[in-house]
Symmetry: C2
Subunit: 212 residues, 2 copies
Amino acid sequence: MERKQEVSKAVIQRLPRYYRNICELKAEGVQRISSRSLAERMGLTASQIRQDFNCFGGFGQQGYGYNIEKLMEELGSILGLSAGRTAILLGAGNLGRALLNNFDFEASGFRLLCAFDANPALVGQEFGGCEVRSSDTMPAFVAEHKPDVAVLTIPRGNAPDIARELVDQGIRGLWNFTGEDLHLGGLGVPVENVHLSDSLMTLCHLVSTTEE
Amino acid sequence: MERKQEVSKAVIQRLPRYYRNICELKAEGVQRISSRSLAERMGLTASQIRQDFNCFGGFGQQGYGYNIEKLMEELGSILGLSAGRTAILLGAGNLGRALLNNFDFEASGFRLLCAFDANPALVGQEFGGCEVRSSDTMPAFVAEHKPDVAVLTIPRGNAPDIARELVDQGIRGLWNFTGEDLHLGGLGVPVENVHLSDSLMTLCHLVSTTEE
DNA sequence: GAACTTTTGTTAAAATAATATCAATTCAAT
DNA sequence: ATTGAATTGATATTATTTTAACAAAAGTTC
């Protein structure tokens, strides 16, 4: 599993999509696949797929292709999905609740321990099987349970302060929906900034330039 | 505004982030900014910013920098945010309602006309100022109002069929939350596939590899 | 089991993207 | 006005990423 040299960010960002497609293939009952077939399915080149996989050591077989079962395990392991990581969610507003109710955290490698909100009306309620606790109790909870990552669905203004606080308390990653770009890479804490608006603006541009 | 040669996808995907930051600067009352300052703020290189902007014709001034007001207009125009585009939303389940209630479509260039759902209990209700209508009435509505894009927050299985139907009815773009990767580029219809799970899996990997 | 086909892993080449450099131009100060 | 500092836009360079090519290995068929 040890990598000779740093794997490029471009490759890393393709891994979840590979994993998704392999899971689908497994669900379809497929046992093995060649880089060519997978490339066709995903709209990539076979060459790119082979090179991507080989960043982590070849797990294919010449003349045969890739075994779906094995490939899924390998990709899952590279992504760290079975590491039993834990998460908490901060901010049980509309967006936070939508995630609690709909999003399958387990499928992305995380067990959601609980949510926190400052609003007393929400404290004690449960969404998607996850209890909302008072924000006051967050530091003690983090100190005790040491969750790996925090999901930030709090209002934007609070984001930088809370992020710093969480890092001080030992959080190892942030899934950030606040709209504020956070960069804690310098502190060794990765952040995934989610900006739905960026995606929609890109679509707006694409629609505008696809005009005939 | 005419481009000499195709602007690379990498540049396009940075535009929304530029736009966001310029909006913030304007809100802060800043009147002008140099590529160096902006680079520092955004964690990029000044060179990259100048080259990106120059893809669309230089709108800076030597010895002065970029005028915030002008830059915002130019970027907004490139993104097509003022084109008065319209959207409909399909599927007023948890995710759909979360978008209706929380997401600022106008800020990303779209006026949301209405939502559609097959569930009679939801039809007639309003979320975020947007009315839910019966799915049955969707084709007639699209034929009459010709919305530019459709937001897909329907269950995954239906996605491909509905997408094709929408394209036949003249839809020009899809903002796809179904989890199913849609590729209608061949039909000249751009799609933005949103996969929150990809983002969280990437974070899982980053947390795992940032281990000391 | 020999010939043929498939397909990988690896190396090389091509294409793309990011960064550095610098002349030309503008602003600001005296 | 003249000088000096700042900053762009363009070009050149470097780095990265993607694609192509192919020998080596495994499967398949007769």
